[in-house]
């Protein structure tokens, strides 16, 4: 147990070893999932007939316009939404409800405002009965990892938006989840802060080797972060493209100027545009 708690930030150490340590966990399988809300005439299908296989340790971005059902799909992995048909499993276990094996980072600031940074991050381990000592040291480790050691005893309201989201990531990771689920986590941040956050998220992911499902509507963000970008279209939501992002890692923001990056970005862009046009024509038909 303690062995797991400790192996954190070793900046000199290179990526592969750390990445492998839990590469056997976090295999997400989505099979023929459809998600329908409401009944009768108000029925609305958010996700239709979607299947996905995400191997352990992969960083997958789900890209699509608002209202395309990408958050709903993510919520089905989180366990907030039960698929109407089909199944979602992690390492073969069917997901029935939210649980600490899946860390969740939300778009809105979701820290407990009455708890300090440290209490927020220690919340998971405390709730799971790890004991105060372990919870505190785990919290400390993760707060250091996201670079907020100085702010451990501050309340969320005293932090900037970017700092709050870093605490959110630390809190989600403190339970040592198998999968990190992120629902447009940087959507509310200004673009400079967002770039910094993307970079530090990649660093954390490299150290952790955890499976990440990252929902975004920002093409640059998806291409910069992901091993794979799944493009979703609306009405009803389905995955229309599965694009492998074979850009080298570690990636720095400069990569956005590379031809390969541009090519992949254009590919995503074209897919989305084709879909949007189709949807637009349907609406105006």
């Amino acid at each position: 147990m303690l062995g797991l708690v400790k192996p954190m930030p070793q900046p000199t150490e290179e990526t592969p070893r750390a990445r492998n340590h839990r590469a056997s966990e976090g295999h997400v399988e989505i099979q023929n999932v459809s998600i329908t809300f409401g009944k009768g005439s108000k029925q609305h299908t958010a996700v239709t007939e979607t299947s996905l296989d995400i191997p352990p340790g992969e960083f997958v971005c789900i890209l699509g316009p608002s209202g395309c059902g990408k958050s709903t799909l993510l919520n089905s992995v989180a366990g907030y939404v039960t698929p109407t048909t089909g199944s979602v499993t992690i390492d073969g276990e069917e997901i029935k409800s939210p649980g600490p094996d899946r860390g969740m980072v939300f778009q809105q600031y979701s820290l407990f405002p009455w708890k300090t940074v440290k209490e927020n991050v220690a919340f998971g381990p405390n709730i799971l009965g790890r004991g105060k000592t372990v919870a505190d040291s785990t919290a400390q480790t993760f707060i250091e990892m996201v670079g907020l050691a100085k702010f451990a005893n501050r309340y969320p309201a005293e932090l900037s938006g970017g700092m709050q989201q870093r605490v959110g990531i630390a809190r989600a990771l403190a339970n040592y989840p198998r999968v990190l689920l992120m629902d447009e986590p940087f959507g509310a941040l200004d673009s400079q802060t967002r770039l910094m956050m993307q970079e530090s998220l990649l660093k954390i992911w490299t150290e952790f080797g955890i499976t990440v499902l990252f929902v975004t509507h920002d093409i640059d963000e998806a291409v910069f972060l992901g091993d794979r970008v799944l493009v979703m279209s609306a009405g009803p939501g389905k995955i229309i493209a599965d694009i492998k992002i074979d850009l080298p890692r570690p990636r720095s923001p400069d990569i956005a100027l590379d031809d390969d990056f541009m090519r992949l970005k254009k590919l995503c862009h074209d897919k989305i545009r084709a879909e949007s046009l189709k949807a637009f024509e349907q609406q105006n038909a």
Partner: protein, 321 residues
């Protein structure tokens, strides 16, 4: 005397303490109120940037103090103007639709006040009133927060209880008096019941509102971190509702004084409301005003005491400003 014995073993006697403190110190209470909060935050482990901020906060304190001084001077001056106007209206026997001829002048009221506080009976009136408040309020706090939490969480409980609350809430304390006297075995119990009712509704409604206002995303976050229903309630719903509960408690305290006074004026042999009404019957006009002002001070003091008592739980909210 039964009344005095009961005060000592009051269930929520914690309330008694700060309220006395607040009343005793008058103006200085704000300065005092700040102290416990700051003492606690320095208790907090690892307030790393404390030394750096001390110099700044010292300057700030000076500035605040001078601003404080000005504001308090204005407040005191405003009161003084009121007293002067009162003095003028009574000595000039102003009778312009409103009749000031029988209104005692400020100096007479002051003399009556001094006479009252040098006797013992006045204190018995105050203690009896406070005892009723404390008992009635304690029940209102326990039942009000309990019902409010349940109603905020359960639609069924809300549907069952809300109709009663909607119908009973607008009924003023005075309207309850006849039925309360018929229902309860003693007059004392009926007065306490009326006091209890006054505090109950604001506490229930504010608690319920606070629970309903809990941001959904926080509940979802807690669930994904592994919290079960009871833990969510304890760590998320309750703290989220606390600011609203604190408001309910303060409002409830004020309303319980209204209600108490109504009860005491109509019946009872002791209590500050009885004292006030009795002064009228005895044509002792200065004492009417003494009683009224005393009620005002007690009401304000106890409401302030409630705010002071709830403040430590809302520390995180102050940081948000």
């Amino acid at each position: 005397m039964a009344a005095q014995g009961a005060i000592i073993e009051m269930p929520k006697s914690g309330n008694l303490d700060p309220s006395q403190e607040a009343r005793g110190d008058g103006e200085e209470t704000t300065a005092q109120g700040l102290q416990p909060a700051s003492a606690e935050s320095s208790d907090h482990p690892g307030n790393t940037d404390q030394p750096a901020e001390t110099a700044k906060s010292f300057q700030l304190a000076n500035l605040l103090q001078s601003e404080h001084l000005v504001r308090w001077s204005i407040r005191i001056a405003a009161l003084a103007v009121g007293v002067l106007a009162w003095h003028w209206a009574t000595t000039a026997n102003l009778n312009f639709y409103i009749n000031f001829e029988n209104v005692p002048e400020p100096l007479k009221v002051w003399n009556a006040f001094v006479a009252q506080i040098s006797g013992t009976e006045f204190y018995i009136h105050i203690l009896v009133s406070m005892q009723r408040i404390i008992i009635g309020y304690a029940f209102a706090v326990a039942i009000g927060i309990g019902l409010g939490l349940i109603m905020g969480r359960s639609k069924l409980a809300n549907d069952i209880l809300m109709p009663y609350i909607e119908i009973l809430r607008p009924i003023p304390a005075v309207a309850w008096i006849p039925l309360a006297i018929l229902m309860w075995p003693t007059e004392e119990a009926s007065i306490i019941y009326i006091t209890f009712l006054g505090a109950l509704f604001p506490i229930i409604l504010n608690t319920m509102h606070g629970v309903e206002q809990t941001p959904e995303v926080l509940i979802r976050a807690a669930r994904s971190l592994g919290a079960r229903q009871t833990q969510i309630f304890r760590h998320v719903v309750l703290p989220a509702a606390l600011p609203s509960i604190a408001t309910g408690l303060a409002v409830g305290m004020g309303v319980s004084w209204f209600s108490l006074l109504a009860g005491e004026i109509i019946s009872g042999q002791y209590g500050i409301g009885y004292f006030t009404w009795n002064a009228y019957s005895l044509i002792n006009y200065p004492d009417i005003v003494v009683g009224m002002l005393c009620i005002g001070l007690l009401g304000t003091g106890s409401t302030y005491a409630v705010r002071l008592a709830t403040r430590p739980f809302l520390k995180w909210q102050e940081k948000a400003r």
